[in-house]
């Protein structure tokens, strides 16, 4: 049962992401993953309404916290496939500490950032990826902050899978999501999406976005080169989408827990030894 009424604006980029995510899940289910093993965790914002439109397990968390929530979901039961739908406000402003540390510890979750480069649901203020000079209601004369490049931050934070997608290319995005979920470790996908109401980047993206050749994925240098092709907030360059970086490293939950599945462990513990120690 899902919410029959989608309340995104007509033409909103979130539709493309919804389609891509649904298809990615359908693909993996066909491949044998149990549908009920997917859990989608969302923050708060336009993007986050996606959980109401998906007939999947989900946790509609707090603004800024979906990654933290998702880490707990995964740690308690590492068999689950945990997907985060975060906004740029969630991931790069309010809750950037969780993004960076989740990447650093290489926990095996997949983070999609619905990056419309604005706080949309609160009617369009600038975020960390809005361009310098962004005119929103909190910056009527233009914001005075430059955007950062989240992919570069993720590389510095040791994410093991870094990609960029575009909401208007749902097939491509679907494949990215599949790869992200299949990747064992922290997968980060920044999804560019136009916000029709507050930052309509549709035309720009349609003109500039191109699919990058996915090679040398284990080279940080090569990844950086692709990542730096386009700086958020600039309008000069072509915008590559695709997987930029992918390396294999031990995942956090395995290292922390071994084979333990906390949600399914036996509850009985003998405390005798522990108390004997204390005599």
């Amino acid at each position: 049962m899902v919410n029959p009424k989608i309340t995104w604006c007509p033409g909103c980029g979130n539709f493309g992401i919804l389609t891509a995510l649904k298809q990615a899940v359908a693909f993996l289910v066909k491949k044998g993953v149990l549908k009920e093993e997917f859990v989608v965790v969302a923050g708060i914002g336009c993007h986050a309404k996606i959980v109401d439109y998906l007939n999947l397990n989900s946790f509609y968390s707090l603004h800024g916290r979906p990654i933290a929530t998702a880490e707990g979901v995964k740690l308690a039961n590492p068999n689950l496939k945990v997907i985060v739908c975060a906004g740029d406000g969630d991931a790069y402003n309010e809750g950037i500490s969780h993004l960076i540390h989740a990447a650093k510890r290489n926990i095996d979750i997949t983070v999609l950032v619905h990056n419309n480069r604005s706080f949309a649901l609160t009617t369009g203020q600038f975020t960390a990826t809005s361009p310098f000079g962004f005119k929103g209601k909190s910056s009527p004369e233009g914001s005075v902050e430059e955007a950062f490049n989240p992919l570069k931050l993720m590389l510095a934070a040791k994410a093991t899978f870094i990609a960029r997608g575009y909401s208007a290319k749902p097939n491509h995005l679907r494949n990215l999501i599949i790869k992200g979920i299949q990747h064992q470790g922290f997968s980060f996908i920044d999804v560019l999406e136009p916000c029709l109401a507050f930052f309509n980047t549709l035309q720009t993206y349609n003109e500039k976005v191109y699919q990058v050749e996915e090679r040398d994925l284990t080279s940080e240098k090569e990844a950086l080169r692709k990542i730096e092709e386009w700086e958020y907030g600039k309008n000069d360059a072509k915008i590559p989408i695709g997987v930029f970086y992918k390396i294999q490293k031990p995942v956090y939950e395995k290292q922390l827990l071994g084979n333990l599945i906390p949600a399914k462990r036996k509850k009985e513990v003998d405390l005798k030894k522990a108390l004997e120690e204390l005599k």
């Binding site: 049962m1 899902v2 919410n3 149990l34 009920e36 093993e37 859990v39 965790v41 708060i44 309404k49 959980v51 109401d52 007939n55 999947l56 397990n57 989900s58 946790f59 509609y60 968390s61 707090l62 916290r65 933290a68 929530t69 998702a70 880490e71 707990g72 979901v73 995964k74 740690l75 308690a76 039961n77 068999n79 689950l80 500490s97 969780h98 960076i100 540390h101 922390l256 827990l257 333990l260 906390p262 949600a263 399914k264 462990r265 036996k266 509850k267 009985e268 513990v269 405390l271 030894k273 522990a274 108390l275 004997e276 120690e277 204390l278 005599k279």
Partner: protein, 538 residues
């Protein structure tokens, strides 16, 4: 005369006075004594002045007293600071520990071993007991430590013949350890934390026993991250607990509200220290009570439980974990440094009182609805990963399935469901031993005290022959039990370690007026004597 010894051992941080204090306590404990240790230390790693006040008594005790029978000093400072508290018959245990240690080939850090050994000899504790305890406590450099001990033991002359009591030897457990054990007994699956005095001991203890207890322990990037992770873990079906102090707790309150709205079980251990803000971080206070009782935005009822010693910490930690899951609610175990880091003789009979209690699990009939609108407001739980079950948790107001709603009727409906659940929580509290009474149960004068102040207040009440009332569950407030406890009381004296008389304000809200207040807010716990004096004047 009752056997009741007070030993103070002090030194600079890094000299190992705390460890020495614990060993001395174990010596007495091995002789059948009941122990309480108050550890006093500053927020620094080397230098300054730390001390442990060990009380060993034939009877169960829950606090230290002012007077000192034996003063053991690892540095001069200790002598100067505490000499005044020495009993008339008190003894300064002044041994040539430097020389002894050196001669025995020991290192300076082993001077505390020499002091312990000399003191043991002086008290008439046999070498075998001493050796057994030292072997247990010193895994590193064991033989050298034993050598130093032996030298000191031989160098010192015996003065007393400590009576061996015919009582079971009990483990010595801090409040932090006790509550960790209680939670484990009740099925704790995951502990999340970020270091913060005085709660850090829980993290350390569980991390050290992660394999023994077969559970998850994680230190994450900050309190906000970990409390939200704990909520996520509970959604997945793991019993999660987090621990912190006031400042870290403050960072968790938004998530507490999320737990309330999403009806996710969550236990937060809040071990208080003197605030506001960083305050006096290695000392004690009961100043976060009002904050804990109302933490989180929106209409929330949460369990707030304040155990008053190690056994209660064990029992209530297990209980609150079970309650959190039965009622799918955020819950707060509210203690303070005095409970967390003090050491108590722990009566193992309490072990049997805590079990894993099964929460309401979905029976797999029909379609699963996370927020099914049941009569008592409690909706069956189901966890992700099971075929045929879709479980949708949310921090938005929602319908039974977990989808967002805004319409007025639907909004009210879910709030009504939660209100019914709150009523059930109130009922549950009245079924539990939520208010305890000690001392002279027929007295007209009564002390009311909570949490760590239980120890000194109980002792004072027993000495003065008055009543002592301890509300253990503070939310939902056990009104009926409290009223019953007040029967016959004409004068009620509030005793707590905060500046505003916070429990007093809560009681007033239920129509219970206190007649006098004895408040202490210098970072130190009450001594029984202080309460006795306060009662005489007040």
């Amino acid at each position: 005369m009752i056997q009741d010894y007070s030993i103070l051992i002090g030194g600079a941080a890094g000299q190992g006075s705390r460890k020495a204090g614990l060993i001395i306590a174990k010596l007495f404990s091995n002789f059948g004594y009941r122990i309480f240790i108050y550890d006093d230390y500053q927020s620094l790693i080397r230098g300054g002045h730390n001390f442990s006040h060990i009380r060993a008594s034939a009877k169960k005790i829950l606090s230290h007293r002012r007077k000192i029978d034996f003063l053991l000093a690892l540095d001069k400072n200790t002598l100067e600071k505490h000499r005044n508290d020495l009993d008339k018959k008190g003894i300064v245990v002044d041994l040539p520990i430097k020389t002894i240690t050196k001669k025995a080939g020991g290192m300076p850090i082993m001077e505390n071993t020499a002091l312990i050994a000399g003191f043991a000899k002086m008290m008439g504790i046999d070498w075998e007991t001493l050796e057994k305890v030292l072997k247990k406590e010193f895994k590193k450099l064991q033989s050298l430590n034993l050598k130093v001990a032996k030298a000191a033991f031989e160098k010192t002359s015996n003065l007393f013949k400590l009576k061996k009591l015919n009582q079971k030897v009990l483990p010595l457990v801090t409040g932090n350890q006790a509550l960790a054990l209680g939670a484990v007994k009740a099925g704790l699956d995951f502990y999340f934390a970020y270091p913060m005095t005085p709660a850090t001991g829980i993290l350390h203890y569980l991390a050290a026993h992660q394999e023994d207890f077969n559970l998850g322990v994680a230190q994450l990037e900050n309190e906000i991250g970990l409390v939200n992770a704990a909520i996520g873990a509970a959604y997945s079906g793991a019993r999660a607990m987090v621990g912190t102090s006031g400042g870290g707790f403050a960072l968790m309150v938004e998530a507490l509200s999320l737990a309330a709205q999403s009806e996710t079980p969550l236990v937060v251990v809040e071990s208080q220290r003197p605030g506001p803000a960083t305050g006096v971080p290695t000392y004690t206070a009961q100043g976060d009570l009002l904050f804990a009782l109302t933490a989180g935005h929106g209409d929330i009822v949460r369990f707030v439980i304040a155990p008053g010693d190690a056994e209660e910490a064990f029992f209530w930690s297990g209980k609150i974990l079970n309650l959190a899951w039965q009622y799918q609610t955020p819950s707060i175990l509210l203690i303070d440094k005095e409970i967390s880091e003090s050491t108590f003789s722990f009566n193992e009979t309490v072990l049997a009182e805590v079990q894993y209690e099964k929460p309401l699990i979905w029976d797999k009939n029909g379609q699963y609805q996370r927020y099914q609108d049941t009569k008592n407001g409690i909706s069956p739980l189901a966890f992700p990963g099971q075929k045929g079950i879709i479980t949708k948790a949310t921090g938005y107001e929602h319908d039974e399935f977990g989808l967002t709603v805004e319409e007025e009727k639907k909004v009210k409906k879910m709030q009504d469901k939660r209100l019914r659940k709150f009523k059930e929580m109130e009922k549950a509290v009245e079924e539990l031993p939520a208010v305890k009474v000690y001392g002279n149960k027929n007295a007209k004068k009564a002390i009311v005290a909570w949490g760590s102040t239980k120890g000194p207040a109980k002792e004072a009440a027993e000495k003065l022959g008055i009543k002592m009332i301890q509300p253990v569950i503070l939310q939902p407030f056990p009104e009926k039990q409290f009223k019953k406890a007040l029967k016959g009381v004409e004068k009620l004296v509030l005793v707590e370690t905060n500046a505003l008389g916070q429990l007093g304000k809560i009681l007033a809200g239920f129509g219970f007026q206190v007649n006098t207040k004895i408040l202490k807010y210098n970072g130190r716990p009450f001594l029984p004597e202080e309460i006795e004096e306060g009662l005489k004047h007040g």
